[in-house]
Amino acid sequence: MLIFKMKKMKKLYIKISMIIISLTAFTACSDDFVNVDSNDVTSEDFFNSEEDYQNALIGAYDLLQSTWINAMLGEIASDNTLAGGESATDVIGIQEIDDMIHTPVNNDLRGIWGLMFAGINRTNFILEFQDKIDFSGKNQIIAQARFLRAYYYFELVKWFGDVPLAIDKQILFGEESSYERSPASEVYSLIEQDLMFASDNLPSVQTEAGRVTKGAAQALLGKAYLYQDKFSEAAQVLEALIQSGTYSLVTDYNTIFEEDGENNVESVFEIQYTDVEGAGFGCLQCSEGNVAVGFSGIRNYEGPDFTSGFSFNVPVQEAYDAFDNDDPRRDIAILDINAWAASTGATFGTGNEHTGYFNRKYIPRTRSSNALPDLNLTNPNNYRAIRYADVLLMAAEANNRGGLNESKAQEYLNQVRRRAFGDELHDVTASGSSLTNAIYLERRLELVGEGHRFFDLVRTGKAAQEINGFQEGKHELFPIPAIEIQLAGNVWAQNPGY
């Protein structure tokens, strides 16, 4: 009887516990269960340590590598090179810019627009939170960020003119239509302020190669002044840079663009690339390699010293002929492929608009064993954005055109020529407008293939006479991509003529 009762109790006990278990199962979870925190930090919770600022700064530098297209198109749009490529339809955007028939529908212009603003947003991400915490050395980080912002805005104002200004705050989703096109003068104003802060707060020499220096800020500031024809300001800041003695011309022009010559004493600002990270066409802006180098390479090349590329950006005969026959820079800057093949037995193919020349400064060299595929996209050649030679020529131009100091202008010009020829027999003694033209020519010869020619022609009013198809009053600026105007609320006017 007792056992029977116990059995019954046991059954009742189990019954009750089952009901309790099932009921608790229902109430076990509260709605908070679905609130999951991401392992990654949100933008609001970032910038809590110096490391956060340093990491964000690296992120801001990253977009410099995407300016390969700016440099390449700066040559193709000018009278220096032709588009080239595999065929007349290989990258239509580039082909059209070459022929001055580009329209507001152009993928490459859209790329430049988007990537430069991406860089600006990354710098503004740091600058928006610059007062969140304090630590020693913060000013140097801010200074580098402001230089980068100035660099990206300088590209935008060169290419598109009036552009939206975002100062110390990111442009957030939903705010696009509240930004107007600020006049170029205001953009330049910001550039000047940023670069002045940068040059005041950066050291003359950085331990890490690739970081912005005081000299880089001064050089870019001088360039920004020169582009606005502010000759005395330009001359002043460039003089300070020259007098600092931090930079000088290397003796052998042929070493400048080789790997051994990276970050040398002539390099005022150099955009860094490497080949140890793989890359693909799916995200060209993600590549750590210099994509322009692969694009400009010799098609189907087999032979010493160089490796293949896609044969874009091919120099024209007229650019080659602009050099004197005894100018050593000519064959260092421009590769005469037929002569080279004849002397070395190398073989090569021909692409669209084959001229027989290649942009030797920036074509692929023999690759290292560390290079990862796609080899065409991972060339490690750094881009010498501002060389001391350029600084000298800018100073010469400012002094000459501003009527400030003709002898200084001549001296700086001749320093460049003496380095080029290795003697003083090729000095220029002209002055006034003849000196101006000599400086303009020297800029073309010294800096051929480096992406400056188009903008030099535009700012000096020479574009219409030198570039086929260039229409004055229209082609000085590139059109803002039509879709970008549409996506920002259709409030912007297009650049004239498009």
Partner: protein, 1022 residues
């Protein structure tokens, strides 16, 4: 008074005569196995009296009026009626082959097919066994109306795309798949022989799964044992070989050279092959690349049941080699399954299921520019596989593009392996509190470790090729080792916890009420455990290469500076279902579910999903009850709101998970940056599926089901183009996901099943089904109203679009209008770049005198308008024959496997090219000069309609007499062929080609074709 007495005595006598009451008892057994059946309902018709058989199959009912009818009914068996005329009435019940008595799994429970009010289809284990799929999805193809399966590739182990009633979203269209209640994403881990049934919820019935139901739900149950059964063993084995279903006819070396010469001459260039006569046939690259490949599979299952428990133990092994690349693409799978259920107490049942799977997969590059088959089609026929020195020939440096390389060399140089070790478990307790009230709790989990390794040797395929890892041939033999090894490991784990209460009761014999209330918790995570690169790999075989033994190594996860957990999703749900039937004739089902997901923005974390369905079994009405023609007629309709939650995690937050990498001091420096732009209002995609259907049974032999469906999916997640000033093109960044799109799928499903038995020896079964589908995008909320996708050619605009008024993923290109026959025709036409006689003439749609991108229109889409399936099976004496065929009509495919370079090989259709005025009006001339002929147009869009004989099988079962004394219950041998015949106009490898992308699908870049398989095998039952 006298009348009264007579009346009373009359009734008395009558009662004496007819009201003899008997105490009836008996045993109920299974007609086939002879085993006793517990739990059978024995009811006296039209009364409240009844009993349920006990564990020994015994029942007894007292005081049953003689002559009344006993109704024996048991789920899964044919109901039997017996007249009460003696005390002992024992009977045997036959398993029901009636589809009406079939059990259908509907989510947190089952239902008899007769009572289902939604559109639910079932595929049984017999069909699955006949089809012998290597992957389960293949068993659904052509079996279920409304379900379209396309293989994403014919490669061993490749996933299939399952689309239930059209394409509902531009995102992830995969349906929710549950195996025994456990969420499974990758079906390659399940052994098809383990499956008991596949149930597909196609309409609002999927609403029981709320925010996960919009793409449909597939419920798979695996075989479990039954109580009180003897030890039973089932052994299956098959082996055979596979070959390609098709080789594309290409030009041989002589034809290739002649055409190349013609192309060069047309552009005034020196001809490349001055001496054509000596070239002969040349290399047939497809022959070199396609090889017959072995497939074999074996599995066994052991079942046993005791009085309280049942066990099922199964194991399987599958080896499938690839028809392309032999050992370089293959798939091996080993599974081990153990199901166990027992009655802990009389009312407390424990069910457990444990499955362990190990899969190993090797794969080749496929369906892309430069993939193995792409290269086999484009490599010149004049190049030999190996050169005179015995090394693999290099691809020509010029004239074939930088992606086309020697496909045999490419295959030889491919080394990779992905190993998945997965453990899935499910443990449930069911407690019957009272006869009507039960409670059930289940805990399921999955744990998978995915280990991948690849080895990239030093390779040089020719000048400037994108795949080269060194720059010249000499570098292959120098001292520098630039080979690399990559090793990665990822972990996926998830768990589901369900708990629900059921109340089931029949009131007054008329009101059948089933109520369900429950909750469910689901959490899923993916973690990157390891991603390392070894540079300078050392070793002599694939197994020896490793990151550890390489010259140097790089830890990608440490460098990336981002979280290793790449997704973490949680779902919290409460649901309730009420099923009501009145007299078994009028049926109603109502479901409401509240889901909360961690993927949605803070404003939209929770949603309510109500669905309902009704049904009317007209055949039970008096006017149809006795009809001999119509033995079953049911009308049903369903509607509701369900959702799709397959979106990425954390898209409502602005996270610092972008990519910020620069170089300082020649070293990579890893920084941080913002990732994709956030949208805090992100929510699920909402679907409103409407279905109305009728199920008809005729002559007890024919079953017909017809459904009309209309599903509108709103709030589709689109990533619209956003203004460039937001910086979304930065590395690792992207635009926000916005709920701004609507797509509608509408169609009719028809299915007819005819079963017939002629005489004693001949049985046959015919099933035919078709589905019509009309897909239309109703709204795209981006500024341009268009989303683009897919790729065509090199450097061309994307060919596929999503745009209001068109099917999703339609092809957008130029329309052709014949060939220019002479210069006059060229001059008379709108300006077309590089146009010459012999070139394609495009239609100037906007009549602006210029042929450019503005003249593009809708030139086709990859969605079929009609799909159909036909199954035929005969049983004659000991022979059985099965045939399954499938057809798809109205889908178009983009031919994108031609590189179109001066020296690439071409297909034989080029022999019909234009060579002079009047020679062709459809095929343009060949030339190496620039033309517009390679721009995307309907010249590259082909009709992909096809009919395919999926499976044909002949089997022979040994008679019981011949097996006496061997201990074998059943022995069957069979021969089977899959994909034997494909009828299609499509010129590519396989008309089922599609990567399954909603925008960008249906484009063929050298699709790995489905193999034709010949098998021989046997089944043994002990």
């Amino acid at each position: 008074m006298r009348k009264l007495i007579i009346l009373i005595s009359f009734t008395f006598i009558t009662n004496l005569g007819f009201a003899q009451n008997i105490n009836v008892k008996g045993v109920v057994t299974d007609a086939v196995t002879g085993e006793t059946l517990p739990g059978v309902n024995v009811i006296v018709k039209n009364s409240q009296k009844g009993d349920i058989t006990d564990f020994d199959g015994n029942y007894k009912i007292s005081a049953v009026p003689k002559g009344s009818i006993l109704v024996f009914s048991y789920l899964g068996y044919q109901t039997k009626e017996v007249v009460v005329d003696k005390e002992t009435i024992s009977t045997s019940l036959e398993e029901s082959s009636e589809t009406l008595d079939e059990i259908v799994v509907i989510g947190y429970g089952t239902q008899r097919k007769k009572e289902v009010t939604g559109a639910v289809s079932v595929v049984g284990s017999e069909t699955i066994e006949n089809l012998k799929p290597t992957r389960i999805e293949q068993a659904l193809q052509g079996q279920v109306a409304g379900v379209n399966i396309t293989a994403s590739s014919g490669a061993p182990g490749a996933a299939s795309n399952i689309r239930i009633r059209g394409i509902s979203t531009n995102g992830n269209n995969n349906p929710l798949i549950l195996v025994d209640g456990n969420v499974i994403e990758d079906l390659s881990v399940v052994n098809p022989s383990d499956i008991e049934s596949i149930n597909v919820l196609k309409d609002a019935t999927a609403g029981i799964y709320g925010v996960r139901g919009a793409n449909g739900v597939i419920l798979i149950t695996t075989k479990s044992g039954r109580k009180d059964t003897d030890f039973k063993v089932v052994l299956n084995y098959y082996t055979g070989f596979q070959q390609t279903t098709r080789k594309i006819p290409l030009l041989n070396a002589t034809e290739y050279a002649l055409l190349a010469n013609e192309a060069f001459a047309a552009n005034a260039e020196t001809i490349p092959f001055p001496n054509v006569g000596s070239l002969g046939e040349g290399t047939d690259w497809q022959d070199e690349v396609f090889k017959n490949a072995l497939v074999r599979s074996m599995d066994f299952t052991i079942n046993k049941g005791t009085e309280k428990s049942s066990y099922s133990l199964g194991a399987s092994h599958l080896d499938q080699y690839g028809i392309v690349g032999a050992g370089k693409s293959n798939f091996k799978r080993t599974t081990l399954k153990f199901n166990f259920s027992t009655e802990i107490l009389k009312n407390l049942k424990l069910t457990t299921s444990s499955i362990f799977t190990n899969t190993k997969r090797k794969s080749l590059s496929e369906n892309a520019l430069g993939s193995v088959l792409f290269n086999a089609l484009n490599m010149p026929a004049t190049t030999t596989v190996k050169d005179d020195l015995g090394a693999y020939s290099l691809a020509p440096t010029t004239g074939v593009g930088i992606e086309v390389i020697n496909p045999i060399a490419q295959t030889e140089n491919t080394f990779n392996e992905a190993i998945v070790d997965k453990f899935s478990g499910g443990y449930g307790l069911n407690y019957k509190i009272t006869d009507h009230l039960s409670v059930e709790s289940r805990f399921q989990f999955n744990y998978a470790a995915v280990n991948s390794k690849y080895y990239a040797p030093e390779v040089y395929y020719g000048g400037g090729k994108v795949f080269n890892s060194v720059n010249n041939l000499a570098a292959l033999t120098d001292d520098v080792n630039s080979s690399t090894v990559g090793e990665s490991k990822q972990e996926f784990k998830d768990y589901t916890f369900d708990s629900f209460i059921k109340y089931e009761r029949i009131f007054n014999d008329i009101h059948d009420v089933k109520a369900l209330f429950g909750m469910s918790v689901f959490r899923s995570q993916g973690v990157n455990l390891r991603n390392e690169l070894g540079i300078g790999a050392n070793g002599t075989s694939f197994s020896e290469y490793s990151v550890a033994s390489s010259d140097s190594s790089q830890d990608n996860l440490a460098l990336a500076n981002r979280s290793r957990r790449f997704f973490d999703s949680r779902l919290l749900s409460y649901f309730s279902r009420l099923q009501y039937s009145y007299e078994g004739k009028y049926l109603l089902s109502a479901v409401i579910r509240r889901d909360g997901s961690s993927n949605f923005g803070p404003q939209n974390k929770f949603g309510f999903f109500p669905t309902g369905s009704v049904g009317w079994i007209a055949s039970d009405e008096s006017f149809l009850e006795d009809s001999s023609t119509i033995n079953f007629l049911k009308f049903r309709a369903s509607y509701g709101i369900i959702g799709n939650d397959r979106i990425a995690s954390f898209r409502y937050l602005s996270l610092v998970n972008g990519e910020g990498v620069y170089v300082f001091n020649n070293q990579l420096s890893f920084g941080q940056a913002l990732g994709s732009i956030a949208n805090p209002e992100i929510r699920w995609e909402k679907q409103k599926p409407f279905d109305v259907g009728v199920d008809i049974g005729l002559f007890d032999k024919v079953d017909i089901t017809v459904d009309y469906f209309n599903k509108k999916t709103e709030d589709l997640l689109v990533q619209p183009e956003v203004s460039g000033i937001l910086g979304a093109t930065a590395p690792g960044s992207g635009g926000p996901l916005v709920n701004a799109g609507t797509v509608e799928n509408e169609g009719i499903e028809f299915s007819i099943n005819y079963k017939e038995t002629i005489g004693e020896d001949f049985k046959f079964n015919l099933n035919y089904n078709f589905t019509t589908l009309k897909n239309e995008v109703l709204y795209v909320g981006s500024d341009t109203g268009i989303l683009q996708g897919g790729s065509f050619g090199v450097g061309q605009d994307p060919p596929s679009r999503m745009e209001a008024g068109f099917p999703i993923g339609y092809f957008y290109g130029l329309q052709t209008n014949g060939i220019f026959q002479n210069q006059a025709e060229v001059d008379a036409h709108a300006t077309q770049a590089n146009a010459n006689p012999g070139d394609i003439r495009f239609v100037d749609q906007n009549e602006d005198g210029l042929i450019n991108g503005d003249d593009r229109i809708n030139i086709g889409d990859p969605i079929p308008s009609i799909t159909m399936g036909l199954n035929l099976s005969f049983d004659y004496k000991s022979f059985d024959f099965n045939m399954y065929a499938f057809a798809s009509i109205g889908n178009e495919i983009v031919r994108n496997y031609e590189r179109n370079q001066p020296l690439t090989n071409r297909s034989v259709y080029f022999l019909d090219r234009w060579t002079g005025e009047g020679t062709s009006t459809t095929f343009p001339r060949v030339t190496t000069g620039s033309t517009s002929n390679t721009l995307f147009s309907d010249f590259y869009v082909e009709d992909g309609s096809f009919a395919r004989l999926q499976n044909i099988q002949l089997g022979y079962t040994f008679s019981d007499d011949s097996l006496m004394g061997t201990g074998i219950d059943k022995l069957r041998f069979y021969l089977s062929a899959s994909n034997l015949v494909t009828l299609t106009k499509y010129k590519g490898f396989d008309p089922t080609t599609s990567n399954g992308a909603p925008i960008g699908g249906g484009i063929d870049q050298g699709f790995y074709p489905s193999p034709k398989t010949f098998l021989i095998g046997f089944n043994v039952n002990f």
